[in-house]
Subunit: 356 residues, 2 copies
């Protein structure tokens, strides 16, 4: 039987996307070939790429001032590529430190410019989003991790500033509408809300590029991939294809505004139960609670193994928390149906009955 997939990433995909993806792996359209073995220069794949780009533009309202790229290397490669492409030696950029991924972005960026941490929530194990910090206007950009996958916090109020944002949206892209004009770069590993692992979406403002003086390898320049429509070299064909199917699915289901509505409902359902249930408590500050990754604890740690057993018995997998937080994490990305969250809530309710 199909499990209810609460993994943090690679993560749940819509079942109809999975079925179509499986079919195309056997035989793609009327090509008489598996999509796994077709040329990236074939008109059929070029049309997949074009549709994927067009859907990103449509769903997030991205103008031609931006390039929309499907790269490889994961979000982790963007930690250095962003800084490498935007900073000359001595240039300043600000970073908001809201978790493990922010910290890694900071570490890699330091190789390329003067990196200033504008604020950090490390003091409270990253359970909140700092506010009220200064953003000097000479920063080339302010780097934000919009959703902190590990710690279950999310940025709902973007800082007020004229400094453009560079944002790691790996775990909340396409979960809500965005004002793209605030961003110089948005990047996201596909494997949460967009597709399987193996491709990274990068949305990059064109006029910020080509200002660094150092010579970069061709593959590491965004301009290369803009000029060649993400096909300078062989792109990850299948991960891009499955991402395109997911983008179609998002559009068919009402776009990112509809996703946001559903995500609010689903996360409210789960957080309300966490708050109501006498055995559980949430870990993140209420106003910063992520709609994607819901982190919570059993007040009595000794009950953890039993709760995970009950989850498994109900078909819920991936609920164990990340070691940095402990307890539990239910990742409820776009593709998680409300019924899946309800099943988990029911397990929590029964668990309370059993244990009080």
């Amino acid at each position: 039987m199909k499990k209810i997939n609460f993994y943090a990433g690679p993560a749940i995909l819509a079942q109809e996307v999975i079925e179509e993806a499986s079919k195309s792996a056997l035989s793609f359209g009327d090509m008489g070939l598996s999509i796994l073995e077709i040329s990236h220069r074939s008109k059929e794949f070029v049309s997949v790429l074009e549709e994927a780009e067009a859907l990103v533009r449509e769903l997030l309202n991205v103008s031609d001032e931006y390039g929309v790229l499907f790269l490889s290397g994961g979000a982790s490669s963007q930690f250095y590529m962003t800084a490498m492409n935007l900073l000359n030696e001595g240039d300043k950029a600000g970073y908001l430190d809201t978790g493990a991924w922010s910290s890694k972005a900071i570490k890699e960026a330091k190789l390329f410019g003067e990196i200033e941490v504008v604020a950090s929530s490390k003091d409270k194990n990253y359970n909140y989003i700092p506010t009220g910090y200064d953003i000097p206007s000479d920063y080339k950009y302010l780097h934000l991790t919009s959703n902190n996958t590990i710690f279950g916090t999310e940025i709902f109020n973007w800082p007020e500033t004229d400094v453009p944002f560079v944002a790691d949206m790996s775990s909340d892209i396409f979960s809500r509408p965005l004002d793209i004009s605030k961003f110089s770069i948005i990047y996201a590993g596909a494997q949460k809300n967009l597709g399987p692992s193996g491709v990274t979406l990068v949305i990059v403002k064109k006029d910020i590029l080509n200002k660094v003086e150092k010579a970069l390898p061709t593959m590491l320049k965004y301009q290369t991939h803009i000029d060649k429509d993400s096909s300078f070299n062989t792109p990850p064909v299948y991960p891009i294809y499955v991402s395109m199917l997911t983008l179609r699915w998002i559009k068919k289901n009402g776009g990112v505004a509809a996703m946001e509505k559903k995500n609010i409902e689903k996360s409210d359902l789960l957080y309300n139960e966490i708050d109501r249930n006498s055995l559980f408590e949430g870990t993140a500050a209420k106003e910063d609670r992520s709609r994607m990754n819901v982190c919570f604890l059993l007040k009595d740690e000794a009950l953890e193994a039993e709760f995970l057993k009950d989850c498994a018995a109900a078909g819920c997998v991936g609920v164990k928390g990340h070691r940095s937080v402990g307890g539990f994490r239910a990742s409820i990305y776009n593709a998680m149906p409300k019924a899946g969250v309800q099943t988990l809530v029911d397990v929590m309710k029964k668990f309370e009955e059993k244990n009080t």
Copy 2:
């Protein structure tokens, strides 16, 4: 009906690999999930990665002195990563220029050291493999492209030297046995003999690493991926899985020695027809003819469109040559059955009957 796939890459995969890959995209083992949505930290995927590595080691006889890595970014990322990881400023390396891919490797390496082109076959549109060139012993390595996908030449006699090789084997890895001890690094984009696009195999000698002085981004150090078993960040799960299935298939079919035997038979079959047939001629020097990419011309160019039509009618796709050479290119990687080559040969024979 299933086409006979002569594309240069992404390229033909064994039909049983395709069928298993499609099944797992729907539902993987007894996990109750698609392999597209499982965690890269799950024991099931860790076991895929371990089996893939073990099969590479077994099939190519790779000792523990080497790391076996599954990276992303394509072979094109290895053009700079190899040089970046091995050369300090001022260090020398030699490059054999045997085609478009060698030339790109040279271009990227020049950012990191003193790159000397030991010989080039550019004078004859890369239709042969140069020999008899000098290899100064102070080179850190000699870079070779073992098979030139575009120009249809392949290195069968490795240069006699104590300088270790760095080799781009994107289009002939696993097509024949290798003496690994001659190599510091072997790299190969998966999408010819190994799997779908989206993963790159790198075999790297451990004791050559960590000798460069410059600070590198974490993701760009081979050591990072050795230390973390190719899972420092989220690896391309599905491309690795399909590659593992292909490695299993190679083993089941007798390993790389059996592949070589079959590849000799298949390429002999096709080259013999090219030579015999009065209408066609090969483009590569006979002694350097690739067993993977067979490039040939119609003496009368005016017949090209008709020949491609006949190929298509017989179910043969991907036969059109690369624009750098013109004419035709039949890529006959491991997964191409002899019967597929025979079909193409039959088309050529009938084409001769019709046109003489």
